[in-house]
């Protein structure tokens, strides 16, 4: 599909937008089923590595590593059994869950008031504040790892989940403020005025006017922050060890694996990716707006 010349695809794509009445009678402009076939082919091609990961995780090790691939080999849960049988798997998953959930809650607690002060009742120079926040997220994390490591060594915070929670909160906070601001800005100003005229206090206004409009956005922000924390490797790998190691750190133990391990690797990769896949599909409708920091609706 990638080889299709841009001009032909683009031209063809623009040929049949299904709007306007005069198109109805034109046979030429009926959607061409070939485009649907092409789209399905591309979608399946992109999903293939992920589907292959799941299929391989369900094969026996001897069937997983064959050339040519054994597509129809018998299915088994052995890969998952050996993954969960490993003594480090559960602690790693629990550490990841703790770090992601707690840091996401902290991000919400800090970013909702901040976004309120940047959109609904904006402070002076609110856009400067927004850009300062964004600039902190653009700085490469790798340049902060060294001082954080030295700090952790001197204070005994090394290999403590609390340190990761604090860092993930800081990492996601700027993005969350940007997303949240764009979601809060969707609250119509007329509704706020009406609430004020009706004598509603701050809490009531927040609860009955702001919350219902902003709730899907807040949920999407939380899911995206959860995803970013769950995936993070560099900080976790540098600042944790055996006690507070997270799931991505656990996965790195497979980097140099040899022998019959492919089904187990795929099982591990599937289990670790599952929370992100669930969160991502749950946030699907707001994913673009969130990932583009509210710039795209």
């Amino acid at each position: 599909m990638a080889a299709t010349a841009p001009s032909t695809t683009a031209a063809a794509a623009d040929a049949a937008p299904p709007r306007q009445t005069y198109r109805k009678h034109s046979k030429l402009n009926r959607p061409n089923p070939l485009w649907g076939v092409a789209a399905w082919a591309v979608g399946l091609l992109f999903a293939t590595p992920a589907l292959w990961m799941v299929l391989t995780s369900l094969h026996r090790e001897v069937d997983a590593a064959t050339n040519p691939p054994s597509l129809l080999a018998p299915l088994t849960l052995d890969g998952y059994r050996s993954f969960f049988g490993s003594s480090n798997a559960w602690p790693a998953l629990i550490n990841s869950a703790t770090a992601s959930v707690v840091s996401t809650l902290l991000v919400l607690a800090l970013s909702i008031p901040a976004a309120y002060a940047l959109s609904i009742r904006p402070v002076k120079r609110w856009s400067d504040v927004l850009f300062f926040l964004l600039s902190t997220r653009f700085l490469p994390i790798v340049a902060a790892v060294l001082p954080l490591y030295l700090f952790a060594v001197t204070t005994g915070a090394l290999d403590q989940i609390g340190l990761l929670i604090a860092l993930y909160t800081a990492m996601n906070l700027p993005i969350a403020v940007w997303m949240m601001r764009s979601f809060l800005a969707e609250v119509p100003v007329e509704m706020l005025e009406a609430a004020q005229l009706d004598g509603a206090g701050l809490i009531r206004t927040l609860r009955s006017v702001v919350a219902p409009v902003a709730m899907p956005g807040i949920a999407a922000t939380a899911l995206i922050c959860f995803i970013f924390s769950w995936q993070e490797l560099l900080l976790a790998r540098s600042l944790t060890g055996v006690v507070a190691g997270t799931a991505p750190v656990f996965l790195t133990s497979f980097v140099t694996s040899q022998g019959l391990f492919l089904a187990q690797v795929c099982a591990a990769a599937t289990v670790v990716s599952l929370p992100v896949l669930i969160a991502g599909f749950a946030a699907q409708d707001k994913l673009v707006q969130g990932l583009s920091l509210g710039a795209v609706k």
Binding site: T9, A39, A295
Partner: protein
């Protein structure tokens, strides 16, 4: 880019008019307004600005943890070492190549797929969901998947499919490529493009769907060919979305550590800047040098981020 949003300027109308006679009261009102912002700002400053300030200080110290006796003020010698280090120069090139290739190819593929998904066909939602999946595989897991299950020379999926296809034609000597050793950087780029194309596609699809229908129809009525309509109406409209996708993608891919670390461990010329700094710090344990490298990377990022902020700023202005 919707215009339905109310501007913060409009929103200030909500506030009670500041009392003219009492400055103190208005100052107090200002702090009441600022109060919800303070915890977040303080937290961010402490957690991000302090470490970077420390990095700058350490970059002027000669400090190798393997030689603890030789610690002392270094002046600019760490920086001099950064600029004369051939490994570091090659990691700068690797970072740029990796970022440009991944962002460029993902954008083009993302645009083509977005144009495809902008049409009506059976199961559009399902295809969109299939397309998003690569973006939602944890990066380390994706890198492991590509390294072991897809690009492995003896049992990876790609070579497996080559064997199978050649077998169909009765050939017993299919081409078998040792992807990670023969084409290490391309292998990493493949895995990253697989993950980032969906991201670009989502942003560009949102752009296509916000395309004003009337200009398009007018162009059609005036006899513009589909290509002309794309070139002169769709593409200019998508321009901002392309900028946004490119800058956000670049920010994340410049910082990429997971794929390089997992797939090649920086071998065979694939070490990018984040990986090199990580090595200087954890393996060579040259803290001063690692800090100087970090400072250089920050300066480089600021240059790139200025463009990013500019495009974000144009979006914010349109928003308001």
């Amino acid at each position: 880019m919707s215009v339905s949003e109310t501007t913060p300027q409009q929103r200030t109308v909500l506030a009670e008019p500041p009392p003219q006679q009492q400055r103190a009261a208005s100052r107090k009102a200002g702090w009441v307004r600022r109060a919800p912002l303070v915890p977040a700002l303080v937290f961010i400053v402490v957690m991000t600005q302090l470490p970077f300030a420390t990095t700058i200080v350490i970059s002027f110290i000669s400090w190798n943890a393997l030689r603890p006796d030789e610690r002392g003020f270094a002046g600019f010698s760490n920086y001099a070492q950064v600029f004369t280090d051939a490994n570091l120069r090659s990691s700068v090139v690797t970072t740029i190549v990796l970022t440009v290739v991944v962002v460029g190819v993902s954008l083009v593929l993302g645009l083509l797929i977005a144009l495809l998904l902008d049409r009506q066909f059976f199961g559009r939602g399902a295809v969109r969901t299939l397309m998003i999946a690569p973006f939602l595989v944890v990066p380390v897991a994706a890198a492991l998947l590509w390294k072991h299950a897809i690009l492995n020379p003896s049992y990876g999926l790609v070579n497996g499919v080559l064997t199978w296809v050649w077998g169909l034609f009765g050939s017993s000597s299919p081409p078998q490529v040792a992807w990670l050793t023969q084409y290490p950087l391309i292998s990493i780029e493949l895995a990253l493009i697989w993950q980032w194309t969906p991201f670009m596609m989502l942003i560009l699809l949102a752009g296509l769907q916000s395309r004003p229908a009337d200009a398009f129809e007018a162009a059609k009525m005036d006899g513009a060919s589909p290509f002309q309509a794309f070139r002169y109406i769709t593409l200019p409209h998508l321009r901002r979305y392309i900028d946004l996708g490119a800058t956000l993608g670049a920010i994340f891919i410049v910082q990429n550590f997971d794929a390089v670390f997992t797939m090649t461990s920086g071998a065979l010329g694939t070490a990018n800047l984040p990986y090199t700094i990580y090595q200087t710090f954890f393996v060579r344990q040259d803290y001063g040098l690692a800090a100087a490298q970090g400072v250089i990377v920050v300066i480089g990022t600021i240059v790139v981020a200025t463009f990013a902020l500019r495009s974000a700023s144009s979006l914010l202005k349109e928003d308001s």
